[in-house]
Protein backbone atom coordinates (compact mmCIF):
# COMPACT_ATOMS: atom_id res chain seq x y z
CA UNK A 1 0.00 0.00 0.00
CA UNK A 2 2.75 2.43 0.90
CA UNK A 3 4.52 1.47 -2.34
CA UNK A 4 1.34 2.34 -4.21
CA UNK A 5 1.14 5.70 -2.47
CA UNK A 6 4.80 6.41 -3.26
CA UNK A 7 4.25 5.64 -6.94
CA UNK A 8 1.09 7.73 -6.94
CA UNK A 9 2.80 10.80 -5.45
CA UNK A 10 5.88 10.40 -7.64
CA UNK A 11 3.60 9.95 -10.62
CA UNK A 12 1.76 13.15 -9.75
CA UNK A 13 5.09 15.00 -9.63
CA UNK A 14 6.10 13.61 -13.02
CA UNK A 15 2.65 14.53 -14.32
CA UNK A 16 3.04 18.08 -13.00
CA UNK A 17 6.27 18.53 -14.94
CA UNK A 18 4.52 17.22 -18.07
CA UNK A 19 1.62 19.59 -17.34
CA UNK A 20 3.97 22.59 -17.31
CA UNK A 21 5.38 21.66 -20.73
CA UNK A 22 1.87 20.96 -22.01
CA UNK A 23 0.45 24.22 -20.65
CA UNK A 24 3.07 26.10 -22.65
CA UNK A 25 1.93 24.24 -25.76
CA UNK A 26 -1.69 25.10 -24.99
CA UNK A 27 -1.00 28.79 -24.38
CA UNK A 28 0.85 29.10 -27.67
CA UNK A 29 -1.66 27.04 -29.63
CA UNK A 30 -4.65 28.90 -28.24
CA UNK A 31 -3.35 32.29 -29.21
CA UNK A 32 -1.54 31.57 -32.47
CA UNK A 33 -2.91 28.24 -33.72
CA UNK A 34 0.67 26.98 -33.92
CA UNK A 35 1.80 23.72 -32.35
CA UNK A 36 5.22 24.57 -31.00
CA UNK A 37 7.55 21.66 -31.58
CA UNK A 38 10.34 23.50 -29.75
CA UNK A 39 8.42 23.46 -26.46
CA UNK A 40 10.63 20.71 -25.02
CA UNK A 41 13.67 22.72 -26.03
CA UNK A 42 12.77 25.52 -23.62
CA UNK A 43 12.82 23.06 -20.75
CA UNK A 44 16.17 21.68 -21.87
CA UNK A 45 17.67 25.17 -22.20
CA UNK A 46 16.50 26.14 -18.73
CA UNK A 47 17.70 22.87 -17.22
CA UNK A 48 21.15 23.19 -18.75
CA UNK A 49 21.35 26.86 -17.73
CA UNK A 50 20.50 26.11 -14.12
CA UNK A 51 23.12 23.37 -13.94
CA UNK A 52 25.76 25.82 -15.23
CA UNK A 53 24.69 28.71 -13.03
CA UNK A 54 24.66 26.58 -9.89
CA UNK A 55 28.03 25.21 -10.95
CA UNK A 56 29.36 28.78 -11.02
CA UNK A 57 28.35 29.17 -7.36
CA UNK A 58 25.35 31.39 -7.91
CA UNK A 59 22.82 30.73 -5.12
CA UNK A 60 19.59 28.80 -5.52
CA UNK A 61 16.64 30.95 -6.41
CA UNK A 62 18.67 33.43 -8.44
CA UNK A 63 19.96 30.67 -10.74
CA UNK A 64 16.49 29.21 -11.23
CA UNK A 65 14.93 32.59 -11.98
CA UNK A 66 17.69 33.46 -14.43
CA UNK A 67 17.29 30.11 -16.21
CA UNK A 68 13.53 30.60 -16.54
CA UNK A 69 14.15 34.09 -17.92
CA UNK A 70 16.56 32.65 -20.49
CA UNK A 71 13.90 30.11 -21.51
CA UNK A 72 11.30 32.86 -21.87
CA UNK A 73 13.70 34.77 -24.11
CA UNK A 74 14.27 31.59 -26.14
CA UNK A 75 10.50 31.35 -26.45
CA UNK A 76 10.33 34.88 -27.77
CA UNK A 77 13.04 34.11 -30.36
CA UNK A 78 11.20 30.96 -31.45
CA UNK A 79 8.06 33.05 -31.78
CA UNK A 80 9.80 35.62 -33.97
CA UNK A 81 10.94 32.82 -36.28
CA UNK A 82 7.60 31.02 -36.29
CA UNK A 83 5.08 33.85 -36.62
CA UNK A 84 7.22 36.93 -37.22
CA UNK A 85 6.48 36.87 -40.93
CA UNK A 86 2.93 37.50 -42.03
CA UNK A 87 1.11 34.78 -43.99
CA UNK A 88 2.92 31.89 -42.35
CA UNK A 89 0.38 29.08 -42.13
CA UNK A 90 0.19 27.14 -38.84
CA UNK A 91 1.63 24.03 -40.50
CA UNK A 92 4.57 26.02 -41.91
CA UNK A 93 5.05 27.44 -38.44
CA UNK A 94 5.15 23.91 -37.02
CA UNK A 95 7.94 23.04 -39.45
CA UNK A 96 9.76 26.27 -38.51
CA UNK A 97 9.58 25.38 -34.81
CA UNK A 98 10.94 21.95 -35.74
CA UNK A 99 13.86 23.81 -37.28
CA UNK A 100 14.21 25.95 -34.16
CA UNK A 101 14.45 22.79 -32.08
CA UNK A 102 17.21 21.37 -34.26
CA UNK A 103 19.04 24.70 -34.24
CA UNK A 104 18.89 24.62 -30.45
CA UNK A 105 20.68 21.24 -30.57
CA UNK A 106 23.62 22.91 -32.27
CA UNK A 107 23.72 25.77 -29.76
CA UNK A 108 23.33 23.44 -26.77
CA UNK A 109 26.13 21.12 -27.89
CA UNK A 110 28.49 24.06 -28.37
CA UNK A 111 27.69 25.51 -24.96
CA UNK A 112 27.17 22.42 -22.82
CA UNK A 113 28.49 19.39 -24.73
CA UNK A 114 26.43 16.31 -25.49
CA UNK A 115 26.57 14.60 -22.09
CA UNK A 116 23.59 14.64 -19.69
CA UNK A 117 23.86 17.21 -16.90
CA UNK A 118 22.14 17.43 -13.57
CA UNK A 119 21.64 20.05 -10.90
CA UNK A 120 21.20 19.82 -7.14
CA UNK A 121 17.63 20.48 -6.02
CA UNK A 122 15.95 20.24 -2.64
CA UNK A 123 17.65 17.44 -0.73
CA UNK A 124 15.98 14.97 1.61
CA UNK A 125 12.61 13.34 1.70
CA UNK A 126 9.48 13.35 3.80
CA UNK A 127 7.38 10.42 4.95
CA UNK A 128 3.71 10.86 4.24
CA UNK A 129 1.29 8.20 5.50
CA UNK A 130 4.04 5.60 5.28
CA UNK A 131 5.18 6.65 1.81
CA UNK A 132 8.61 8.23 1.30
CA UNK A 133 8.59 11.07 -1.15
CA UNK A 134 11.48 13.30 -2.19
CA UNK A 135 11.11 16.93 -1.19
CA UNK A 136 11.87 17.95 -4.76
CA UNK A 137 8.78 16.04 -5.90
CA UNK A 138 6.66 18.01 -3.45
CA UNK A 139 8.23 21.22 -4.72
CA UNK A 140 7.30 20.28 -8.30
CA UNK A 141 3.68 19.64 -7.28
CA UNK A 142 3.48 22.88 -5.29
CA UNK A 143 4.98 25.08 -8.00
CA UNK A 144 2.75 23.54 -10.67
CA UNK A 145 -0.39 24.11 -8.60
CA UNK A 146 0.61 27.72 -7.99
CA UNK A 147 1.42 28.22 -11.68
CA UNK A 148 -1.96 26.95 -12.82
CA UNK A 149 -3.76 29.20 -10.33
CA UNK A 150 -1.71 32.19 -11.51
CA UNK A 151 -2.42 31.31 -15.15
CA UNK A 152 -6.15 31.11 -14.46
CA UNK A 153 -6.03 34.50 -12.73
CA UNK A 154 -3.94 35.98 -15.53
CA UNK A 155 -6.25 34.83 -18.30
CA UNK A 156 -9.45 35.53 -16.40
CA UNK A 157 -8.74 38.73 -14.48
CA UNK A 158 -6.10 40.85 -16.25
CA UNK A 159 -6.53 43.01 -19.32
CA UNK A 160 -3.55 41.42 -21.04
CA UNK A 161 -4.82 37.93 -20.37
CA UNK A 162 -8.22 38.81 -21.76
CA UNK A 163 -6.60 40.27 -24.87
CA UNK A 164 -4.73 36.98 -25.34
CA UNK A 165 -7.99 35.05 -24.98
CA UNK A 166 -9.62 37.39 -27.48
CA UNK A 167 -6.92 36.61 -30.05
CA UNK A 168 -7.53 32.95 -29.42
CA UNK A 169 -11.27 33.01 -29.94
CA UNK A 170 -11.39 35.32 -32.94
CA UNK A 171 -8.23 36.96 -34.30
CA UNK A 172 -10.15 39.11 -36.78
CA UNK A 173 -12.47 40.57 -34.17
CA UNK A 174 -9.51 41.07 -31.84
CA UNK A 175 -7.77 43.12 -34.54
CA UNK A 176 -10.89 45.16 -35.09
CA UNK A 177 -10.97 46.28 -31.46
CA UNK A 178 -7.32 47.30 -31.68
CA UNK A 179 -5.41 44.33 -30.32
CA UNK A 180 -2.09 43.68 -32.02
CA UNK A 181 -2.55 39.97 -32.75
CA UNK A 182 1.07 39.40 -33.73
CA UNK A 183 2.43 41.01 -30.58
CA UNK A 184 0.03 38.89 -28.54
CA UNK A 185 1.31 35.81 -30.39
CA UNK A 186 4.89 36.71 -29.50
CA UNK A 187 3.82 37.25 -25.91
CA UNK A 188 2.23 33.80 -25.94
CA UNK A 189 5.48 32.31 -27.20
CA UNK A 190 7.43 34.06 -24.41
CA UNK A 191 4.92 32.79 -21.87
CA UNK A 192 5.25 29.30 -23.37
CA UNK A 193 9.02 29.56 -23.04
CA UNK A 194 8.63 30.61 -19.42
CA UNK A 195 6.37 27.65 -18.63
CA UNK A 196 8.70 25.25 -20.43
CA UNK A 197 11.64 26.74 -18.56
CA UNK A 198 9.86 26.25 -15.25
CA UNK A 199 9.39 22.57 -16.11
CA UNK A 200 13.07 22.25 -17.02
CA UNK A 201 14.29 23.90 -13.83
CA UNK A 202 12.10 21.63 -11.71
CA UNK A 203 12.91 18.40 -13.54
CA UNK A 204 16.68 18.72 -13.85
CA UNK A 205 17.38 17.73 -10.21
CA UNK A 206 15.15 14.65 -10.65
CA UNK A 207 16.54 13.25 -13.86
CA UNK A 208 19.63 14.39 -15.78
CA UNK A 209 18.90 16.39 -18.89
CA UNK A 210 20.79 16.38 -22.20
CA UNK A 211 20.30 18.23 -25.45
CA UNK A 212 18.05 15.53 -26.95
CA UNK A 213 15.77 15.10 -23.91
CA UNK A 214 13.42 17.54 -25.63
CA UNK A 215 11.88 14.80 -27.80
CA UNK A 216 10.61 12.90 -24.75
CA UNK A 217 9.42 16.12 -23.13
CA UNK A 218 7.56 17.41 -26.17
CA UNK A 219 5.96 14.05 -26.96
CA UNK A 220 4.72 13.67 -23.38
CA UNK A 221 3.59 17.28 -23.30
CA UNK A 222 1.78 16.94 -26.59
CA UNK A 223 0.13 13.73 -25.39
CA UNK A 224 -1.21 15.60 -22.35
CA UNK A 225 -2.27 18.64 -24.36
CA UNK A 226 -4.15 16.41 -26.77
CA UNK A 227 -6.47 15.41 -23.91
CA UNK A 228 -7.63 19.02 -23.80
CA UNK A 229 -7.72 19.27 -27.60
CA UNK A 230 -4.77 21.68 -27.30
CA UNK A 231 -7.03 24.44 -26.01
CA UNK A 232 -8.30 23.60 -22.52
CA UNK A 233 -5.68 24.03 -19.77
CA UNK A 234 -7.57 22.25 -16.98
CA UNK A 235 -8.25 19.11 -19.04
CA UNK A 236 -4.60 19.25 -20.05
CA UNK A 237 -3.57 19.25 -16.39
CA UNK A 238 -5.78 16.23 -15.72
CA UNK A 239 -4.37 14.47 -18.79
CA UNK A 240 -0.81 15.19 -17.71
CA UNK A 241 -1.42 13.87 -14.20
CA UNK A 242 -3.02 10.70 -15.60
CA UNK A 243 -0.08 10.23 -17.94
CA UNK A 244 2.48 10.80 -15.19
CA UNK A 245 0.77 8.37 -12.81
CA UNK A 246 0.29 5.74 -15.55
CA UNK A 247 3.96 5.95 -16.55
CA UNK A 248 5.25 5.82 -13.00
CA UNK A 249 2.98 2.90 -12.13
CA UNK A 250 4.11 1.05 -15.25
CA UNK A 251 7.73 1.65 -14.26
CA UNK A 252 7.12 0.83 -10.59
CA UNK A 253 5.39 -2.48 -11.24
CA UNK A 254 8.07 -3.75 -13.58
CA UNK A 255 7.07 -2.57 -17.03
CA UNK A 256 9.60 0.26 -16.96
CA UNK A 257 10.94 -0.48 -20.41
CA UNK A 258 7.49 0.07 -21.92
CA UNK A 259 6.92 3.47 -20.33
CA UNK A 260 7.29 5.40 -23.60
CA UNK A 261 5.03 3.04 -25.54
CA UNK A 262 2.29 3.47 -22.92
CA UNK A 263 2.37 7.25 -23.26
CA UNK A 264 2.57 7.28 -27.05
CA UNK A 265 -0.09 4.63 -27.54
CA UNK A 266 -2.43 6.52 -25.23
CA UNK A 267 -1.83 9.74 -27.16
CA UNK A 268 -2.58 8.13 -30.52
CA UNK A 269 -5.79 6.54 -29.24
CA UNK A 270 -7.01 9.83 -27.76
CA UNK A 271 -6.25 11.71 -30.97
CA UNK A 272 -8.08 9.17 -33.12
CA UNK A 273 -11.14 9.18 -30.86
CA UNK A 274 -11.19 12.99 -30.94
CA UNK A 275 -10.74 13.08 -34.71
CA UNK A 276 -13.64 10.71 -35.26
CA UNK A 277 -15.90 13.08 -33.31
CA UNK A 278 -15.04 16.10 -35.43
CA UNK A 279 -16.22 16.64 -38.97
CA UNK A 280 -13.67 16.96 -41.75
CA UNK A 281 -14.92 20.38 -42.74
CA UNK A 282 -14.35 21.89 -39.29
CA UNK A 283 -10.67 20.97 -39.45
CA UNK A 284 -9.96 22.40 -42.84
CA UNK A 285 -8.39 25.81 -43.19
CA UNK A 286 -10.86 28.15 -44.78
Amino acid sequence: MSAFLTYLLNGLAVGCAIALVASGLVVIHRVTGVVNFAQGTFAVVAGLCVSSLLGLGIPHGVSELAAVAVAAFAGLLAGVAAIGRRDTTPLSSLIVTLGVGVLAYAVEIVLWGDQPRSAPGLAGSVTLAGARIQTQHLLVIGVTAATFVLLALFFGRTYLGKALTACASNPYAARVVGIDVRRMGLLAFALGGLLGGLAGVLVTPLRPISFDTDVTLIVNGFAAAVFGALTRPVVTLVGALLLGVAETMAAGYGYGSHQLEVALGLMIVVMIVQASRRSTLSQEVT
Binding site: R85, I95, D114, V219, V226, L260, G265, A275, Q283
Partner: protein, 320 residues
Protein backbone atom coordinates in the same frame (compact mmCIF):
# COMPACT_ATOMS: atom_id res chain seq x y z
CA UNK B 1 12.31 21.49 -74.30
CA UNK B 2 14.92 21.88 -71.58
CA UNK B 3 13.59 18.73 -69.93
CA UNK B 4 14.30 16.76 -73.09
CA UNK B 5 17.95 17.83 -73.05
CA UNK B 6 18.41 17.68 -69.30
CA UNK B 7 17.12 14.17 -68.66
CA UNK B 8 19.64 12.36 -70.91
CA UNK B 9 22.47 14.55 -69.58
CA UNK B 10 21.53 13.73 -65.99
CA UNK B 11 21.22 10.04 -66.90
CA UNK B 12 24.66 9.95 -68.56
CA UNK B 13 26.33 11.80 -65.66
CA UNK B 14 24.62 9.50 -63.16
CA UNK B 15 25.85 6.40 -64.97
CA UNK B 16 29.37 7.75 -65.48
CA UNK B 17 29.95 8.93 -61.91
CA UNK B 18 30.47 5.54 -60.17
CA UNK B 19 33.32 4.78 -62.58
CA UNK B 20 35.27 7.91 -61.68
CA UNK B 21 34.52 8.38 -57.98
CA UNK B 22 36.73 6.87 -55.26
CA UNK B 23 35.30 4.80 -52.41
CA UNK B 24 34.61 7.58 -49.92
CA UNK B 25 32.95 9.72 -52.58
CA UNK B 26 30.94 6.67 -53.66
CA UNK B 27 29.66 6.27 -50.12
CA UNK B 28 28.29 9.82 -50.27
CA UNK B 29 26.88 9.11 -53.73
CA UNK B 30 25.04 6.01 -52.50
CA UNK B 31 23.65 7.66 -49.36
CA UNK B 32 22.56 10.59 -51.51
CA UNK B 33 20.67 8.25 -53.84
CA UNK B 34 19.02 6.48 -50.93
CA UNK B 35 17.99 9.77 -49.31
CA UNK B 36 16.58 10.97 -52.64
CA UNK B 37 14.55 7.76 -52.91
CA UNK B 38 12.90 8.35 -49.52
CA UNK B 39 12.49 12.07 -50.23
CA UNK B 40 10.55 11.40 -53.46
CA UNK B 41 8.02 9.55 -51.30
CA UNK B 42 7.92 12.32 -48.69
CA UNK B 43 7.46 14.91 -51.42
CA UNK B 44 4.61 12.89 -52.93
CA UNK B 45 2.97 12.53 -49.54
CA UNK B 46 3.40 16.16 -48.46
CA UNK B 47 3.08 17.90 -51.81
CA UNK B 48 0.33 15.89 -53.43
CA UNK B 49 -1.63 14.26 -50.65
CA UNK B 50 -1.02 17.16 -48.22
CA UNK B 51 -0.03 14.86 -45.34
CA UNK B 52 2.99 15.45 -43.10
CA UNK B 53 4.86 12.38 -41.91
CA UNK B 54 7.56 12.82 -39.29
CA UNK B 55 8.05 9.05 -39.20
CA UNK B 56 9.35 8.21 -42.64
CA UNK B 57 12.56 6.95 -41.03
CA UNK B 58 10.46 4.18 -39.47
CA UNK B 59 9.67 2.69 -42.88
CA UNK B 60 13.30 3.06 -43.89
CA UNK B 61 14.11 1.05 -40.78
CA UNK B 62 11.39 -1.54 -41.45
CA UNK B 63 12.78 -2.10 -44.94
CA UNK B 64 16.31 -2.45 -43.63
CA UNK B 65 15.34 -4.86 -40.84
CA UNK B 66 13.16 -6.93 -43.20
CA UNK B 67 15.92 -7.42 -45.74
CA UNK B 68 18.50 -8.06 -43.03
CA UNK B 69 16.41 -10.62 -41.13
CA UNK B 70 15.41 -12.50 -44.28
CA UNK B 71 18.94 -12.64 -45.66
CA UNK B 72 20.40 -13.71 -42.33
CA UNK B 73 17.72 -16.41 -42.29
CA UNK B 74 19.04 -17.84 -45.55
CA UNK B 75 16.68 -16.25 -48.06
CA UNK B 76 18.39 -15.08 -51.29
CA UNK B 77 19.25 -11.34 -51.13
CA UNK B 78 17.13 -10.54 -54.18
CA UNK B 79 14.03 -11.87 -52.41
CA UNK B 80 15.03 -9.87 -49.33
CA UNK B 81 15.30 -6.71 -51.41
CA UNK B 82 11.88 -7.31 -52.95
CA UNK B 83 10.36 -8.04 -49.55
CA UNK B 84 11.71 -4.81 -48.02
CA UNK B 85 9.35 -2.40 -49.83
CA UNK B 86 6.48 -4.88 -49.68
CA UNK B 87 6.69 -5.27 -45.91
CA UNK B 88 7.17 -1.52 -45.43
CA UNK B 89 4.08 -0.81 -47.55
CA UNK B 90 2.07 -3.46 -45.72
CA UNK B 91 2.97 -1.99 -42.34
CA UNK B 92 2.04 1.45 -43.68
CA UNK B 93 -1.38 0.09 -44.63
CA UNK B 94 -1.85 -1.34 -41.14
CA UNK B 95 -0.57 1.73 -39.30
CA UNK B 96 -2.15 4.18 -41.72
CA UNK B 97 -5.69 2.86 -41.42
CA UNK B 98 -6.16 4.43 -37.97
CA UNK B 99 -3.50 7.17 -38.23
CA UNK B 100 -4.66 8.79 -41.46
CA UNK B 101 -7.90 9.81 -39.78
CA UNK B 102 -5.68 12.48 -38.27
CA UNK B 103 -4.41 15.49 -40.13
CA UNK B 104 -2.06 18.42 -39.76
CA UNK B 105 -0.04 18.54 -36.56
CA UNK B 106 -1.90 15.56 -35.11
CA UNK B 107 -0.69 13.34 -37.93
CA UNK B 108 2.82 14.76 -37.63
CA UNK B 109 2.98 13.82 -33.95
CA UNK B 110 1.32 10.45 -34.48
CA UNK B 111 3.87 9.44 -37.12
CA UNK B 112 6.68 10.68 -34.89
CA UNK B 113 5.24 8.58 -32.07
CA UNK B 114 5.09 5.59 -34.41
CA UNK B 115 8.80 5.88 -35.14
CA UNK B 116 9.68 6.28 -31.44
CA UNK B 117 7.63 3.18 -30.56
CA UNK B 118 9.27 1.20 -33.36
CA UNK B 119 12.78 2.22 -32.30
CA UNK B 120 12.04 1.34 -28.70
CA UNK B 121 10.55 -2.04 -29.66
CA UNK B 122 13.43 -2.88 -32.01
CA UNK B 123 15.84 -2.02 -29.21
CA UNK B 124 14.20 -4.52 -26.86
CA UNK B 125 13.26 -7.51 -28.98
CA UNK B 126 15.54 -10.52 -29.11
CA UNK B 127 15.30 -11.36 -32.81
CA UNK B 128 16.10 -7.80 -33.96
CA UNK B 129 19.31 -7.93 -31.94
CA UNK B 130 18.26 -5.30 -29.39
CA UNK B 131 20.23 -2.08 -29.21
CA UNK B 132 23.24 -3.75 -30.80
CA UNK B 133 21.28 -4.58 -33.93
CA UNK B 134 22.03 -7.09 -36.67
CA UNK B 135 25.54 -7.57 -37.96
CA UNK B 136 27.23 -9.56 -40.71
CA UNK B 137 24.48 -9.17 -43.29
CA UNK B 138 25.67 -10.88 -46.51
CA UNK B 139 26.45 -8.87 -49.65
CA UNK B 140 23.70 -8.31 -52.17
CA UNK B 141 23.79 -10.70 -55.10
CA UNK B 142 21.68 -12.37 -57.77
CA UNK B 143 22.39 -16.05 -58.40
CA UNK B 144 26.12 -16.53 -58.45
CA UNK B 145 26.90 -12.83 -58.99
CA UNK B 146 27.70 -10.87 -55.87
CA UNK B 147 27.93 -7.10 -55.44
CA UNK B 148 31.53 -6.73 -54.39
CA UNK B 149 32.41 -3.06 -54.50
CA UNK B 150 30.71 0.20 -53.79
CA UNK B 151 30.25 0.88 -57.51
CA UNK B 152 27.78 -2.01 -57.80
CA UNK B 153 25.74 -0.56 -54.93
CA UNK B 154 25.84 2.85 -56.56
CA UNK B 155 24.28 1.41 -59.73
CA UNK B 156 21.74 -0.52 -57.68
CA UNK B 157 20.80 2.62 -55.71
CA UNK B 158 20.38 4.82 -58.73
CA UNK B 159 18.46 2.13 -60.61
CA UNK B 160 16.14 1.99 -57.61
CA UNK B 161 15.83 5.78 -57.62
CA UNK B 162 15.00 5.77 -61.35
CA UNK B 163 12.30 3.17 -60.71
CA UNK B 164 10.87 5.19 -57.82
CA UNK B 165 10.80 8.37 -59.91
CA UNK B 166 9.14 6.60 -62.82
CA UNK B 167 6.43 5.13 -60.58
CA UNK B 168 5.84 8.54 -58.98
CA UNK B 169 5.61 10.27 -62.36
CA UNK B 170 3.05 7.76 -63.56
CA UNK B 171 1.01 8.10 -60.40
CA UNK B 172 1.00 11.89 -60.61
CA UNK B 173 -0.04 12.08 -64.26
CA UNK B 174 -2.78 9.50 -63.84
CA UNK B 175 -6.37 10.06 -62.76
CA UNK B 176 -5.57 9.21 -59.11
CA UNK B 177 -2.81 11.83 -59.26
CA UNK B 178 -5.31 14.55 -60.11
CA UNK B 179 -7.53 13.25 -57.34
CA UNK B 180 -4.61 13.54 -54.90
CA UNK B 181 -3.97 17.13 -55.84
CA UNK B 182 -7.65 17.83 -55.27
CA UNK B 183 -7.73 16.28 -51.82
CA UNK B 184 -4.59 18.15 -50.76
CA UNK B 185 -6.45 21.44 -51.20
CA UNK B 186 -9.78 20.39 -49.69
CA UNK B 187 -10.78 16.94 -48.57
CA UNK B 188 -14.43 17.89 -48.37
CA UNK B 189 -14.52 19.22 -51.92
CA UNK B 190 -12.65 16.17 -53.17
CA UNK B 191 -14.97 13.78 -51.39
CA UNK B 192 -18.04 15.53 -52.75
CA UNK B 193 -16.74 15.09 -56.31
CA UNK B 194 -16.63 11.36 -55.70
CA UNK B 195 -12.97 10.85 -54.80
CA UNK B 196 -12.46 8.02 -52.29
CA UNK B 197 -10.38 10.27 -50.02
CA UNK B 198 -9.48 7.77 -47.33
CA UNK B 199 -8.40 5.05 -49.74
CA UNK B 200 -6.26 7.36 -51.87
CA UNK B 201 -4.49 8.83 -48.85
CA UNK B 202 -3.76 5.34 -47.58
CA UNK B 203 -2.39 4.21 -50.95
CA UNK B 204 -0.03 7.20 -51.19
CA UNK B 205 1.10 6.61 -47.61
CA UNK B 206 1.84 2.97 -48.49
CA UNK B 207 3.61 3.97 -51.69
CA UNK B 208 5.87 6.44 -49.90
CA UNK B 209 6.56 3.76 -47.30
CA UNK B 210 7.48 1.31 -50.05
CA UNK B 211 10.01 3.80 -51.45
CA UNK B 212 11.53 4.22 -47.99
CA UNK B 213 11.54 0.44 -47.52
CA UNK B 214 13.39 -0.12 -50.78
CA UNK B 215 16.01 2.43 -49.77
CA UNK B 216 16.31 0.72 -46.39
CA UNK B 217 16.80 -2.65 -48.06
CA UNK B 218 19.65 -1.40 -50.20
CA UNK B 219 21.15 0.39 -47.19
CA UNK B 220 21.33 -2.81 -45.11
CA UNK B 221 23.19 -4.73 -47.85
CA UNK B 222 25.56 -1.84 -48.43
CA UNK B 223 26.53 -1.30 -44.79
CA UNK B 224 26.05 -4.93 -43.70
CA UNK B 225 24.74 -3.68 -40.37
CA UNK B 226 21.47 -2.30 -38.96
CA UNK B 227 20.63 -1.06 -35.46
CA UNK B 228 17.97 1.23 -33.94
CA UNK B 229 20.64 3.94 -33.82
CA UNK B 230 20.81 3.96 -37.64
CA UNK B 231 17.28 5.38 -37.84
CA UNK B 232 17.05 8.32 -35.40
CA UNK B 233 14.17 10.79 -35.42
CA UNK B 234 16.54 13.28 -37.00
CA UNK B 235 16.66 11.18 -40.18
CA UNK B 236 12.92 11.72 -40.69
CA UNK B 237 13.39 15.44 -40.18
CA UNK B 238 16.24 15.36 -42.68
CA UNK B 239 13.90 13.96 -45.38
CA UNK B 240 11.44 16.76 -44.69
CA UNK B 241 14.23 19.32 -45.04
CA UNK B 242 15.26 17.78 -48.36
CA UNK B 243 11.69 17.70 -49.68
CA UNK B 244 11.03 21.28 -48.60
CA UNK B 245 14.30 22.54 -50.07
CA UNK B 246 13.68 20.93 -53.44
CA UNK B 247 10.04 21.92 -53.58
CA UNK B 248 7.12 19.83 -52.37
CA UNK B 249 5.22 17.92 -54.98
CA UNK B 250 7.96 17.92 -57.59
CA UNK B 251 9.83 14.74 -58.43
CA UNK B 252 13.01 16.45 -59.50
CA UNK B 253 12.75 18.74 -56.49
CA UNK B 254 13.22 15.75 -54.20
CA UNK B 255 16.40 14.75 -56.02
CA UNK B 256 17.69 18.33 -56.13
CA UNK B 257 16.87 18.82 -52.45
CA UNK B 258 18.59 15.59 -51.41
CA UNK B 259 21.64 16.49 -53.50
CA UNK B 260 21.85 20.05 -52.21
CA UNK B 261 21.56 19.06 -48.54
CA UNK B 262 23.89 16.05 -48.79
CA UNK B 263 26.59 18.02 -50.59
CA UNK B 264 26.22 20.96 -48.21
CA UNK B 265 26.54 18.74 -45.15
CA UNK B 266 29.47 16.86 -46.71
CA UNK B 267 31.23 20.10 -47.58
CA UNK B 268 30.82 21.41 -44.06
CA UNK B 269 31.95 18.04 -42.70
CA UNK B 270 35.17 18.47 -44.61
CA UNK B 271 35.51 21.93 -43.10
CA UNK B 272 34.67 20.72 -39.60
CA UNK B 273 37.22 17.91 -39.58
CA UNK B 274 40.06 20.28 -40.44
CA UNK B 275 42.79 20.29 -37.78
CA UNK B 276 42.10 22.75 -34.99
CA UNK B 277 38.34 22.38 -35.07
CA UNK B 278 36.67 21.06 -31.88
CA UNK B 279 35.53 17.43 -31.92
CA UNK B 280 31.84 18.33 -31.83
CA UNK B 281 32.11 20.57 -34.91
CA UNK B 282 30.71 18.08 -37.49
CA UNK B 283 27.55 17.32 -35.46
CA UNK B 284 26.96 20.94 -34.59
CA UNK B 285 27.44 22.12 -38.16
CA UNK B 286 25.08 19.51 -39.60
CA UNK B 287 22.38 20.33 -37.03
CA UNK B 288 22.81 24.03 -37.75
CA UNK B 289 22.63 23.49 -41.50
CA UNK B 290 19.44 21.41 -41.31
CA UNK B 291 17.83 23.94 -39.02
CA UNK B 292 18.79 27.12 -40.85
CA UNK B 293 18.03 25.70 -44.28
CA UNK B 294 14.64 24.43 -43.10
CA UNK B 295 13.66 27.72 -41.44
CA UNK B 296 14.98 29.82 -44.29
CA UNK B 297 13.25 27.82 -46.98
CA UNK B 298 9.86 27.62 -45.25
CA UNK B 299 9.86 31.35 -44.57
CA UNK B 300 11.44 32.82 -47.67
CA UNK B 301 11.08 30.27 -50.47
CA UNK B 302 8.12 28.12 -49.41
CA UNK B 303 7.69 26.60 -52.86
CA UNK B 304 11.23 25.24 -52.92
CA UNK B 305 14.23 25.50 -55.23
CA UNK B 306 12.94 23.76 -58.33
CA UNK B 307 9.61 25.60 -58.69
CA UNK B 308 11.31 28.92 -57.87
CA UNK B 309 13.99 28.36 -60.51
CA UNK B 310 11.61 27.16 -63.20
CA UNK B 311 9.36 30.15 -62.60
CA UNK B 312 12.29 32.49 -62.99
CA UNK B 313 13.28 30.70 -66.21
CA UNK B 314 9.74 31.02 -67.51
CA UNK B 315 9.56 34.73 -66.75
CA UNK B 316 12.97 35.25 -68.42
CA UNK B 317 11.90 33.47 -71.58
CA UNK B 318 8.68 35.44 -71.64
CA UNK B 319 10.66 38.67 -71.49
CA UNK B 320 12.78 37.54 -74.43
Amino acid sequence: MIGRVAVPVVAVVTLALPAVLDDSALAVYILLGLAAMVTVGVSLLMGYAGQVSLGQGAFYGIGAYTAALLTLGGVPPLAGLVAAPVVAAASALVVGTPLLRLRGHHLAFATLAMQLILLSVAGQLEFTGGDIGLQGIPQFGVGSWEAGGAAAYAYLTWAGLALVMLVTRNVITSRPGRALRALATSETAAASSGIPVGRYKLVVFALSAAFAGLAGGIYCYYTGYVAPGSFPVLISIQYIVMAVVGGLGTIWGAVVGATAITLLVQGLDGLATLPGMPSYAPTVLSYAVYALVLIGMVLFMPRGLVPALSRRRKSLSERV
